[in-house]
Symmetry: C2
Subunit: 497 residues, 2 copies
């Protein structure tokens, strides 16, 4: 839920890229594996379709057991030798290993849950995983989870099948952790990673990555050297905790003599931002680490290479907040903490009006954190801020969240990633961190302190939205389809080895 | 929608009252009519049931033609000689007259629409109009519109049937106006009343009343000498009008660089109230007329006779706004303007969270007005207030509303009302005005300047809520059932004559 490659939204073409491997790419990858990738195209497509057809929605507690079991089966079929379910206080995770007898071990982070989907909003049913023709793009699998994250994850598994199909052993050992609650803010992921056997296995890793579809519609690939942290919460005003206002919705004429939890919430909310709409929570910026010179350089480069107009168009915005420049907007996305309203809900929400005084009002908020802010400290500051201003009665129900994470551009994981992309003709855009979030802190933080990030060619869009897709056969010479994505994972493993 | 007898909520018993007509009541009403009322009990019940079984919901544009046609038929059957549909820019109204050759003419206000109903929430289906047994109350018709307003209105029509059944002519001439949009704020009611033929007929009236079920659960009857005015509106912040923020929902990480219509709305809203939650709109109190000494007297009496504890319990409140006394809370309800939040809606409103930055946020507000405030002046003040503070971009969509109304306690209409109630053993509680609203201003204002109010014995509750009911056969010696309600209308007409 938290993790979106938002930098890619509307990023513009940054020069032509070649679809086929460039000279030198084959230097590390045995050619017979590419042959296997092509030969196993239908099998790889079927693997993705089968996965999408199994809904697994943590937010709705739907298909979770089936989704986990199918994921475990797919891991076993791909060659993982030890595949276990890991119990948590919520939905279970998965821990899997493959010992190839290789000198190096690489970690993988998977998710087996997907976002909700309302079939009414889709042009092709979200659980059909149909192959559809997309104008100017080619053939794509359309369905919930197609790109977030079953497409890239199945492409990684298909890379493992191709390597084995070519009669090769994996060039690296693998340690995989998967969770089923990514879309609800990974509330129990730390429980999975902190298990002694999982920790021990992860300690052997050089780093950990999540397969992703890295290529945007503009053909660029962005590498985020970390991600913002997040806390997601509901702020609730009600008579029950306030001791004022009605315990149920009453006729609105009573407003003259009865307090209003909705106004109480509005007044509390209005203290959380400055007049300009920026975070106004006491002390929120205390721990913000300024971005470094090197990070400034990345942002300068990104501002030159990503098209501002396309970005604005894709987001449907006419101007940036604070009328910032494009360069500043990119820095804000990477380096500015936020307090966002995801939703407001109180009383009557249908068409027209209804003369009630609601007994309850809630705001759904997310706060994005940058180093060295932490989720727990930020939550404490929010609560203290509210209490100080007479809003200590509001319920602050945190539903998920975690600290920010950072990975060095000098980590072997990152260096190898850049190398593979460049061999495919793509000069990736580096940014200090993603504006979105993922729970990489469990890897980058104490005690593991591993590099962690995303890797993968391939293209897909509309995660969390209707008509989510993952490109299978590209009709655009500069966009990568399924086979190229599978090849990129093969190359990455050989490069890392 | 606007009009609720909110004073009755939780008002407590004010001494024993007798169910049967007291000595002296028959002084004005021919006894054979009472016999007819009893004889025609089944017919009166069937009339109400047939009416409830025809849903007619303006907010959903459901059954409006059928509802109007049925109402017109019921009016004709009761003896109205001229019954016409009156076109408006919205749903049509009804204009009906009955010339009994009497010296005096009385006006009636009816509504033929009802509030929405969700059958899932009802213990007996809302369109079944089943007769149900209610513990400690007796037999009641349960259904949407049972008390608001088909029960009292059908009881009035049954009074007409009883008078005719006894071989009598009506003691007064009648002029009736009905609308089908009461529950959506009467947006076109003035169009009906201002028609030249309707105006001419209303000019002949001494006053106008709406049949109502006046008796609360505590057996008291309250007479409101007017009602607050109201404006109901939606305040909407969106990129379309603001020129900032996204034109569609985008990923919430973009909050760092994209403005938020939801925060913009929250900030605008927070200026509309004082820290105590009272109206803070510039100049809103300029035209508030202080209550008079006589009105203070009514409130003193009401505070003595209505039980505060029961009122608090019924509303589910522990303390009044501003920690007011009971006497002050009653005065606030009658005399304090309000700005109320009926609903808040923006972005994701389901369970848990969803990491989006919504492109739109709306607050549904109602403002209650006291004399000499007007709806148009209040709306202008709200808009000026917002514009002055940099929120002039917010859409202010007024969906309905009208001015307050006042009727003198010395009007014959009121004097007769008190007399009929007292003959039935009830000493009514007078209040300066209802905290709720009804469009009586079209009668009390220029050019008609008629007394206007509500009249009727009978009991029912849960208007706008599930399990709305109207009492048919009372098992409580002090609560009036259908026949007593019908008799009260007969008595009122004779008293007015």
């Amino acid at each position: 839920m938290m993790r979106r490659r938002v930098f890619l939204q509307g990023a513009a073409a940054a020069g032509a890229v070649a679809l086929l491997p460039r000279r030198g790419m084959a230097a590390v990858t045995p050619k017979e594996i590419y042959t296997q990738v092509e030969k196993r195209h239908a099998e790889a497509l079927a693997r993705l379709q089968a996965w999408v057809r199994q809904p697994s929605i943590a937010a709705e507690n739907r298909g979770m057991t089936e989704g986990r079991d199918l994921t475990m089966r797919l891991l076993r079929e791909a060659g993982f030798t030890k595949v276990e379910s890991v119990a948590t206080s919520g939905h279970p995770g998965i821990f899997a290993t493959l010992d190839a007898g290789a000198p190096r071990t690489i970690g993988l982070y998977f998710m087996y849950d997907v976002k909700q989907a309302d079939p009414k909003e889709w042009s092709s049913p979200p659980w059909d995983a149909a192959v559809v023709d997309m104008p100017r793009l080619g053939k794509a699998v359309m369905g919930r989870g197609a790109v977030n994250q079953k497409g890239p994850q199945s492409a990684f598994l298909s890379a493992m099948h191709a390597i084995r199909g070519a009669g090769k052993k994996l060039p690296v050992n693998l340690v995989l952790v998967a969770e089923g609650e990514e879309e609800i803010g990974s509330p129990h992921f730390a429980q999975i990673v902190s298990r002694p056997n999982v920790q021990a296995a992860l300690k052997r890793c050089e780093g950990i990555f999540m397969p992703s579809a890295g290529q945007g519609l503009d053909r660029t690939v962005t590498i985020a050297l970390g991600a913002k942290g997040v806390i997601e919460l509901e702020l609730v005003a009600s008579a029950d905790t306030w001791g004022r206002g009605p315990k149920k919705d009453v006729h609105s004429s009573n407003r003259a003599r009865v307090d209003s939890p909705a106004w109480h919430l509005v007044q509390a909310l209005s203290t959380l931002v400055t007049p300009a709409g920026d975070p106004g929570i006491d002390g929120l910026f205390d721990k913000v680490r300024p971005i470094s010179e090197r990070e400034r350089g990345y942002l300068d480069d990104a501002a030159r290479r990503i098209d501002e107009k396309v970005a604005k168009q894709s987001l449907g915005v006419e101007r940036w907040a604070r009328d910032a420049s494009w360069r500043q907007a990119l820095e804000d996305l990477a380096a500015r903490p936020t307090v966002n309203i995801e939703g407001l809900v109180s009383g009557y929400t249908g068409p027209g009006g209804m003369t009630i005084l609601p007994h309850r009002a809630a705001a759904k908020l997310d706060l994005r954190l940058v180093p060295d802010m932490t989720a727990s400290d930020t939550l404490a500051k929010l609560k203290a801020h509210l209490a100080k201003r007479g809003f200590g009665d509001l319920a602050v129900n945190m539903t998920g969240g975690y600290d920010p994470n950072t990975t060095s551009p000098d980590a072997r994981l990152t260096v190898a990633e850049i190398k593979v992309y460049e061999r495919a003709g793509i000069k990736p855009i580096l940014v200090p961190r993603s504006g979105g979030s993922w729970p990489g802190y469990v890897f980058t933080g104490e005690p593991l302190k591993l590099p962690a990030g995303h890797f993968g060619l391939g293209h897909g869009q509309r995660a969390h939205a209707p008509d989510e897709y993952y490109l299978i056969e590209s009709s655009d010479g500069k966009l990568f389809g399924l086979d190229a994505a599978v090849r990129s994972f093969v190359d990455y493993l050989y490069e890392l080895a």
